[in-house]
């Protein structure tokens, strides 16, 4: 058992670090630093640079554009990205949909969809949750009826509503779970459809979240016509795809490297803020202890993730243990935002979103901190709530 990095790994780290330093767009960096809302082009700019280098999709099989990196290299890569505070690659296409396509898709679907995802040319969104189907996703009602069109081809006509569609306002395409057999048991009558968001009958409507942002949407589908060849895997067996996708969604969710960077930020802020005693807040015994506890919990998560990665590299897919990563990862992300909010004291209160930037109201690092805390409450709700994750562990791991 060891954690040593080989000379090759060290060289790879150097290469990764240099690449980021030389290629990360300054304009994007500035916008991030100022906390500005990002445009669609902003979100995709870094992705496209990585795609040119061949590094946008490290986890994919090499034949579709993966890098063939060892788990250690992937780990180093995620560390370096977090260290440089790069914008994360959007997960919807790259880590959520693509594994479904290259695992369950037809040759035509692989050829048609994977390159656009890899190169950051097509923006995907997720159509899973419905107003009545959240944790109980299998109870979804959005229905798809099969018809033969005037052109003699087969189509689905989709009707229903999806919700919590993250960044759906920018989406070119969406992957949707729809009910194709209303009489079957909940899990058995579901199909997995890829839908062009420009199809007539689709309306994307903004949901404003409690910190004031526009991150999620309702998606209404009214007689939306989808060619049958846009179905992935067999009719009525979409649940198999959905489950596989959710497991992938959960491993990415641990966010260890990002939380490490978050912890550094807490240290920076608490090193500047003053405590009641007049010294740096980071020297305050109460605060210091909370930072230490969080760092220890993050280490426990990191080593749990490393064990999972090591298991994966010896051929085990992400199993129900990934629920541990989801629960602990999101709890840590939330606690980080609590600590930052606590650190900034009085200046957690101003709401400066509508006042533009450089307001000179409080320190720059306090801007948006409360909003970040409010927003991160979502993490223990999405991707299968943390209560559901505990059910999964109870059932699948403990056999209860």
């Amino acid at each position: 058992m060891n954690l040593d990095f080989s000379p090759e790994d060290a060289a790879f780290r150097e290469e990764a670090r240099t690449f980021i330093a030389q290629n990360y767009p300054q304009q994007l960096r500035d916008k991030q630093d100022r906390g500005e809302e990002l445009s669609k082009e902003d979100y995709l700019s870094w992705h496209r640079i990585l795609a040119k280098k061949g590094w946008a999709t490290p986890s994919w099989p090499v034949e579709f554009g993966g890098t063939g990196w060892t788990p250690t290299q992937k780990y180093i890569w995620s560390e370096e990205q977090a260290r440089a505070d790069t914008l994360g690659i959007l997960p919807f296409g790259v880590s959520m949909l693509a594994p479904v396509i290259y695992t369950f898709g037809t040759q035509e679907q692989k050829e048609k969809f994977l390159p656009g995802i890899r190169d950051g040319l097509v923006w995907w969104c997720q159509g899973y949750s419905e107003p009545g189907a959240g944790s109980d996703l299998a109870s979804l009602k959005c229905k798809a009826e099969r018809i033969t069109g005037d052109d003699g081809k087969e189509y689905y006509i989709v009707n229903g509503q999806k919700t919590w569609t993250t960044l759906g306002q920018h989406a070119d395409w969406g992957f949707f779970l729809v009910r194709t057999d209303p009489d079957a048991k909940p899990q058995s009558g579901i199909s997995f459809l890829l839908i062009d968001m420009k199809t007539p009958g689709i309306e994307v409507r903004r949901i404003t979240t409690l910190e004031g942002g526009h991150e999620v949407n309702d998606v209404f589908l009214d007689n939306v016509k989808v060619p049958v060849e846009n179905r992935v895997f067999h009719e009525n067996q979409g649940w198999t795809c959905a489950k596989a996708l959710l497991a992938h969604e959960r491993t990415g969710i641990a966010g260890v490297a990002r939380s490490k960077r978050g912890l550094e930020k807490v240290r920076e802020i608490a090193g500047t803020e003053l405590s009641d005693a007049g010294g740096p807040l980071l020297a305050d015994p109460f605060f210091k202890r909370k930072v230490a506890e969080l760092e220890i919990d993050l280490t426990a998560l990191e080593f749990t993730e490393l064990r999972t990665l090591a298991g994966e590299s010896s051929g085990k897919g992400p199993g129900p243990e990934s629920s541990i990563l989801k629960i602990k990862g999101t709890e840590i992300q939330q606690r980080l935002t609590e600590l930052v909010l606590e650190a900034v004291g009085h200046y957690g209160a101003p709401y400066l979103r509508d006042l533009g930037h450089n307001t000179n109201i409080g320190p720059d690092y306090a801007d948006g901190v409360a909003g970040g805390y409010f927003n991160m409450r979502k993490t223990s709700i999405y991707g299968g709530s943390n209560e559901i994750q505990r059910n999964i562990i109870a059932k699948m791991v403990l056999g209860l």
């Binding site: 919590w164 979240t209 200046y347 409010f374 409450r377």
Partner: protein
């Protein structure tokens, strides 16, 4: 032993509750916050004229209702239930507190103005460097002829955009963090040299960064003893803490009720999610947190008339309980609402935001835990 309210206090509660039911729905509040000036002067006018509650804690000979901190508590809890942003705390509890406890010569006029709704006060005490150490003051008031000249910057002054007057802490002597040398002044907001930079807060209030630049005031602006007002400041802040705890209890009640209601009607896996034991226990723990918060608020209210140490211990202890409960009840209310709890369109998130800001109002949980330790166990432990 008696924890019941008098008939007058119960009537006061009902009066406030019924007015707010008619005039302070979630939608009415939301629309008012979005528009300028971000609060409703007509509601304030109704508080003064229709309800008469702005006189609740003042003596009858001044035109008040003859109540005290318990009346403030009753009113604040109701204001919490409706997330009221109008400045009862700053004006009546804090402004009124300073005027009542200081023997200030101009008190009766100003209290008359408060009761009538014309005088609105914001408390400018926090400074960017000071965190929750109230005597850490860079703001100075230098003797100048018969009066004083004030210079300094006050941070996040809640309610300053609505205020007619500011009550300001400033140093008239001693070093930046000394207990001696703290003085309190009342300054008209339109005094020459006072500038405000206004902004909304995350929980729907309006606040300002307030700068004092060579603001000349007369000797009659001084409230309390020159250079010896820290005990007064601490007393009034403890009263503000108890009032805020009462507000929090109102906020917590709504968070808890709203969660029970939502989980009873929200169905997943073929049944209301309130049927899942793990969620039932969570809601029970929210309820326990609420009940403990109410108990501690009553305790602290009773201790307000005790010795300085007992009063301070009571307020600190209550604030610790409320701070912990704010986190537990607030976070779980959102969690049990699922995605719906994350939306701006549901009231629950707004209660959560207020609960979160109450956690750090007048000192965080850690601050008050440390304060309690010092008061209870001695500083030299």
């Amino acid at each position: 032993m008696d924890f019941s309210f008098t008939e007058e206090q119960s009537m006061l509660r009902d009066t406030v509750a019924s007015y707010l039911a008619d005039h302070y729905s979630f939608e009415q509040r939301r629309d008012a916050l979005k528009a300028e000036p971000g609060w409703r002067p007509n509601v304030w006018k109704a508080f003064a004229e229709e309800l008469g509650i702005l006189g609740a804690p003042f003596a009858e000979e001044l035109g008040g209702l003859g109540g005290g901190s318990t009346e403030n508590m009753v009113i604040m809890e109701e204001l919490g239930k409706s997330l009221v942003v109008e400045p009862y705390l700053g004006t009546v509890v804090i402004g009124g507190g300073f005027l009542k406890h200081s023997g200030y010569a101009g008190a009766s006029d100003l209290i008359g103005g408060i009761i009538g709704g014309e005088t609105i006060i914001a408390f400018a005490y926090a400074e960017p460097q000071a965190r929750y150490t109230w005597q850490d003051l860079k703001t100075t008031a230098k003797k100048d002829g018969g009066g004083y000249v004030i210079n300094g910057h006050k941070a996040v002054v809640i309610g300053a955009p609505y205020a007619t007057h500011l009550i300001v802490t400033a140093r008239t002597g001693g070093g930046q963090r000394d207990a001696q040398g703290v003085s309190v002044f009342i300054v008209p907001k339109d005094a020459k040299g006072v500038t405000t930079r206004d902004y909304p807060t995350v929980d729907g209030f309006r606040a300002s960064e307030v700068t004092f630049e060579n603001v000349s005031v007369g000797a009659d602006a001084l409230i309390g003893a020159d250079g010896a007002a820290l005990p007064l400041v601490e007393k009034v802040i403890d009263e503000a803490i108890v009032a805020t705890c009462a507000e929090a209890c109102g906020v917590f009640r709504k968070l808890h009720e709203g969660t029970l209601e939502y989980t009873k009607q929200r169905k997943q896996f073929g049944q209301p999610i309130s049927q899942f034991q793990v969620l039932q226990h969570r809601m029970v723990d929210m309820f326990i947190n609420l009940e403990q918060s109410i108990s501690m608020t009553y305790m602290a209210d009773i201790k307000l008339s005790d010795s300085d140490v007992e009063r301070a211990k009571g307020a600190a202890a209550a604030k610790v309980q409320i701070g912990k409960a704010a986190k537990f009840i607030g976070q779980n209310a959102i969690q049990l609402h699922g995605g719906m709890g994350m939306t701006d369109e549901m009231a629950i998130g707004h209660y959560f935001k207020r609960a979160t800001m109450i956690e750090s109002a007048f000192g965080s949980t850690d601050h008050h835990l440390g304060r309690y330790e010092n008061l209870s166990l001695g500083k030299a432990a």
